[in-house]
């Protein structure tokens, strides 16, 4: 790299060509004041606060934008410069409102700080212009236009960091101000409430609303570095909390981790659930028998037979979701459980009593019916330490491998295909590696909603010119950034990708060198895809032959193509086949193992990667050691001191089925809510009712807990130390931000207590000790400790944690398989289990929305998230709506062969005619009442993305 030498304030500097003066000065420790500049943003030089003198030039120049030149002599603080800065500060100050909302909240108004530092007071200059007004329409962000200095930082943050492109400027002269979309109120605009603009704003123009606790300056608060408790992106967050009130006051993104300081609405504004009054604080023991559902929503997700009630008159009051994304303000109706309906069925108990009951009842079932009559669901929301201990409890103490968690419902098929073909279930590269790609295949994922911060990097890649190929049956917002968007028919992924591979082979775009060096069985795939000519594939998936050919050729020619997929791929009875196809596609073009290439299943929950790594799955011990391997079993029998079950355990849906049939009789459910998250709710209800004994450990009374015999109050992610492994394989340490409420206990301590009371003493001093035990069994995590994870965590494998961040790109020189090679596995198009017919003509696709997460236990108790997206809805295409005479906001009934729900219609172009979309977060209209429990044969994942339903207008709201 060429460097340039220059002199700043009499000192010489040598910096790379192209460096800006501001950065060059900083490299000498000289801090030039700025207002419009933020090192995260492209400099624009509009405020002129950073003016400096370049010797020989007539006028001052803006250091933030000015590039260095050889031999430049620069003064950063002459009398003239200081005078200019003073006048500028005073001018800006004269326009500021009397009170700065930023100073009054976070206390970091950069303009006021500058004025104070320079000794500039306001009052000498008259305020010009006539107030520019304010805007309080966003539930999370307050806008005071009068405080805006038009520095452009929010605009660049929204455009260049988050790529939402919501903010611009309007007007001119004194009336110039920022505007949202068509100068709408912020709350009505397409703003997704990520808060990046608030983080960027240097004045009181954009500030956070209080979420429960008044926002106060950082200096008055305790600041704790932790990790977002929501999605698998695993954003690093700094929480600022009030220790006296034991409340989080506000949150900020942290640099140094994958998110590079960015956050989404859930991470930035979704923390107040931890302080919700419905937190469980005492152990509860059931007194109401025989067991039954306790709240009407859990009791009555109606079965298809015996329906027919609910005919009333008049239209529901749930009108008013505009087109696009509606923004209810969430007045009135709330759909979290009413504790008055549920708590009378329980009494409070001491920890000793509750734990004794649990140990005794589970022990008795083991005694009377054998270990196989017990099962446990752990959770991907819990830490690695908790996952490890939970599976150890089930395996060593219960004596069974019947342990699973929600990975079964999200990426089990992806992992099955990856393990089978490349010998490793984790991502081969990070989401941030897209920065090195010139092509990205993004398929079956609504990333802007489900991995919002990862999506910002995808959008950034598109803006830089990388070609995004987005393949999805639903047109999600990421499609707006696509080079080509292929809206395939639901359930036809295999045909589409086989068609692409057919073209790639026909066009000679196979990387034969890579295939011969690193793979086997190419011929198997080649002969299968030979049958999927563009014509055949197009006929199945609905994409024209020309487009299919075009995207295949561009993919084949890409220098570095990266692949991201989500549950649109995995949640099918052919989910494993779907994944096999994209893995084959990557392998035949050599798109693995180099920067900018790779396979990245976007993991859903904050610790779904880590929980699987820790062995919270029925077929393997930690680090994917098969339970059926004698060697692995011998290792763990020695380590844990108990004989272990040599058979693989049952998976999530299989456990539910076994409970319904009476084979599984006792369950321990930690942090999961199968009542809402598992397919075919009516069967889940039967299963839960039938259990002899159920202990639920959670932070709120979930729908599942209504069937519990004992409920144990747990701690939230923000109240405990523990590690979480994100979608990138990044192991990060979360620190406790708050104290747990009431008698709630640390989850790992509860597990230890149960184990100990069941005759298997478990004792640890802290989470770090548990982590050390987990690491001792895991090659992947080798070398990691709580201490050396550092602020940004480590990407495993990380052979040298003291010096390196870990491994970004894996498998540059072969795969962790027996012969070191990846194996092609062919797949044929089979189609979904339940195809539409005359009685049930529409395809139901379930999924999630930006503001909610899993079964809504946390997000619906977060003020902002609930306010933005309060209600259940079904999204349908205008053509289907017209055919059924349904208007936007009407109540509609959705019926499948398994059940029926009533919810508001949202008419949107995103879904294609013939299919509807329902998010599964909402208890009042549980999408899984409708879904089928048919499983993929390899991944054992249910088909959440496809079942047949019928739609009709409902004459009444569900409450009427």
């Amino acid at each position: 790299m060429k460097t340039v030498r220059l002199e700043i304030d009499g000192r010489s500097a040598e910096v790379p060509e192209g460096t800006r003066l501001w950065d060059a000065a900083l490299s000498l420790g000289i801090e030039i004041p700025v207002l419009c500049h933020d090192p995260n943003l492209t400099p624009v030089g509009v405020c002129r606060m950073c003016a400096v003198q370049v010797e020989g030039e007539r006028v001052l120049t803006a250091a933030c934008v000015r590039e260095v030149a050889e031999g430049m002599v620069v003064r950063t603080a002459t009398d003239k410069i200081e005078r200019c800065r003073d006048v500028l500060t005073e001018l800006l100050l004269s326009e500021q409102p009397a009170r700065s909302a930023r100073q009054a909240t976070t206390g970091d108004d950069a303009l006021l700080a500058l004025a104070a530092e320079r000794g500039v007071a306001r009052g000498r200059l008259p305020a010009a212009g006539s107030g520019r007004g304010s805007d309080d329409s966003s539930p999370v962000i307050a806008v005071d236009h009068q405080a805006c200095i038009l520095c452009d930082r929010c605009i660049r943050a929204c455009d260049d960091l988050q790529h939402n492109d919501v903010i611009g400027r309007t007007g001119k002269g004194y009336t110039t101000r920022i505007a949202f979309d068509l100068d709408q109120p912020m709350g009505d605009s397409s703003c997704v409430s990520c808060g990046e603009c608030v983080a960027a704003c240097p004045t009181g123009a954009l500030t956070n609303h209080a979420l429960g606790a008044a926002v106060r300056p950082v200096a008055e608060l305790a600041s704790v570095d932790s990790v977002c408790p929501y999605c698998g992106v695993g954003c690093a967050i700094r929480y600022h909390a009030d220790p006296a009130e034991n409340r989080i006051v506000f949150a900020e993104g942290r640099e140094g981790s994958g998110n590079q300081g960015r956050l989404c609405v859930k991470g930035r504004y979704g923390f107040d659930y931890v302080s919700h009054p419905q937190r469980l604080t005492r152990p509860l023991i059931r007194v109401d028998y025989p067991k039954r559902a306790l709240s009407p929503e859990v009791e009555s997700s109606r079965r298809i037979q015996g329906s027919g009630k609910g005919k009333g008159k008049g239209k529901g009051e749930g009108k008013g979701k505009g087109e696009g994304k509606g923004k209810g303000k969430g007045g009135g109706r709330r759909h979290i459980v009413d504790y008055d309906q549920v708590l009378p069925a329980f009494r409070e108990a001491s920890w000793d009593e509750a734990l004794d009951v649990v140990a005794e009842r589970l022990g008795a079932i083991r005694q009377d019916h054998g270990p196989g009559a017990l099962a446990g669901f752990g959770s991907a929301k819990c830490s690695n330490e908790e996952a490890y201990l939970f599976q150890k409890l089930v395996r060593a103490v219960f004596g069974t491998n019947n342990v699973d968690h929600c990975t079964r419902l999200c990426h089990a098929s992806s992992v099955a295909a990856l393990l089978q073909m490349i010998g490793s279930g984790a991502v081969t590269t990070t989401f941030g590696d897209i920065e090195n790609s010139d092509f990205a295949l993004i398929t079956g994922t609504n990333t802007t909603a489900n991995h919002p911060v990862a999506a910002t990097f995808f959008k950034q890649a598109a803006a830089r010119g990388a070609k995004l190929l987005v393949v999805d049956p639903i047109r999600n917002p990421i499609a707006d950034h696509a080079w080509r968007f292929c809206q395939i028919r639901p359930g036809t992924d295999v045909a589409f990708y086989n068609g692409m591979m057919n073209v790639i082979i026909a066009e000679g775009l196979v990387d034969t060198d890579y295939v011969s060096r690193f793979t086997t069985d190419f011929d198997a795939v080649a002969s299968t895809v030979a049958r999927y000519t563009p014509r055949v594939a197009a006929g199945i998936c609905g994409i024209s032959e020309d487009i299919l050919r075009e995207v295949a050729i561009e993919y084949g020619k890409a220098r570095a193509a990266i692949t991201f997929w989500g549950m649109g791929m995995s949640q099918h009875v052919h989910g494993t086949d779907n994944c096999r196809c994209i893995i084959s596609l990557c392998l035949m073009t050599g798109n693995v193992g180099r920067p900018g290439t790779g396979l990245h299943p976007l993991r859903g929950q904050n610790n779904v990667q880590g929980a699987s790594d820790a062995g919270l799955i029925p077929m393997s011990y930690p680090d994917y050691q098969p339970v059926t391997s004698n060697e692995a079993r011998a290792h763990y029998e020695a380590a844990w001191g108990r004989p272990l079950d040599p058979k693989a355990g049952l998976t999530t849906v299989e456990i539910t089925e076994a409970a319904r049939e009476g084979q599984v009789k006792g369950m321990y459910i930690l942090g999961e809510n199968p009542f809402l998250s598992d397919p075919n709710t009516n069967l889940v209800r039967e299963a839960l009712t039938r259990l002899d004994f159920l202990v639920v450990q959670d932070i709120f009374l979930t729908e599942t807990a209504e069937f519990a015999d004992v409920i144990l109050p747990a701690t939230s992610a923000l109240e405990k130390a523990g590690t979480f492994t994100n979608t990138d394989r990044r192991v990060q340490l979360g620190h406790p931000v708050l104290r747990a409420p009431g008698d709630a206990r640390l989850d790992w301590q509860i597990i230890c207590e149960i184990a100990t009371r069941m005759g298997y003493p478990m004792r640890y001093d802290d989470a770090a000790e548990i982590f050390a035990e987990l690491v001792s069994h895991s090659n992947s995590y080798r070398g990691l400790t709580h201490e050396n994870l550092g602020e940004g965590g480590k990407l495993y494998p990380c052979p040298d944690p003291d010096r390196s961040e870990g491994t970004v790109v894996m498998f540059g020189d072969g795969f962790p398989t027996e012969n070191g090679r990846a194996r092609f596995v062919a797949a044929d198009h089979k189609g979904a289990d339940e195809l539409p017919d005359d009685a049930y003509p529409l395809v139901l696709i379930t999924g999630r929305v930006l503001e909610h997460w899993h079964t809504g236990q946390m997000t619906r108790r977060s003020y902002a998230l609930d306010a933005i997206e309060p209600d259940a809805f079904v999204s349908l295409h205008p053509a289907d709506a017209a055919a059924a005479a349904i208007a936007d906001g009407d109540w509609v009934r959705l019926t499948s062969r398994r059940g029926e729900i009533t919810l508001a219609a949202r008419i949107q172009e995103g879904t294609q005619p013939g299919s509807v979309f329902v998010p599964f977060h909402f208890r009042e209209a549980g999408a899984n009442t409708l879904t089928t429990d048919q499983l993929d044969p390899d991944g054992k994942i249910p088909e959440f993305k496809f079942c047949a339903v019928r739609l009709s207008k409902s004459l009444s709201s569900p409450e009427a």
Partner: protein, 154 residues
């Protein structure tokens, strides 16, 4: 709705530029002329046509006095009040015109004949003060001259 005729003119405008969005300003003029205003609905349609974000259209609409979001009087009369014009009596002129027309700045006469507005510099400083009536400049004005110009409007 931007009808077919306007759409055809917009497409012709687009064809004049190497990149599509280059034609946006021209398109705004076409819509303003054809529909008497650039409504928010039209801005939204233009955003879709030009493949830009809605806020990028509104930035232009709100910057230039040539465009307004709802129909105004038949004649658009704008008085520049920037420094050179102000030094040569533009504010007095503006006051006088307000009285003459019986409306304030930003208002339209009751008969819908004239809309009066304040303008930023139009580059006619040498001949200050000036008013713009639609696309036509009237320069070196005094109040009587300006009133005469307005009175001559239909």
């Amino acid at each position: 709705m931007i009808g077919e005729t306007l759409r055809a003119r917009i497409d012709a405008e687009i064809a004049r530029f190497p990149v599509k969005r280059g034609g946006l300003l021209g398109a705004l003029h076409i819509v303003q002329e054809g529909q008497g205003c650039v409504s928010l609905a039209a801005s939204k349609e233009l955003a879709a046509i030009f493949d830009v974000f809605p806020v990028e259209v509104i930035e232009l609409v709100r910057f230039y006095n040539f465009f307004h979001e709802s129909p105004r009087g038949r004649h658009q009369v704008y008085v520049c009040t920037n420094l050179p014009c102000a030094l040569r009596g533009a504010n007095v002129l503006l006051k006088g015109l307000e009285q003459h027309l019986g409306v304030g700045v930003g208002e339209t006469t009751a008969d819908g004949r004239v809309h009066l507005g304040r303008e930023e510099c139009l580059g006619a400083c040498a001949n200050a003060p000036m008013i713009r009536v639609g696309g036509v400049y009237h320069e070196d004005l005094d109040l009587a001259g300006a009133c005469a110009v307005l009175d001559a409007l239909e």
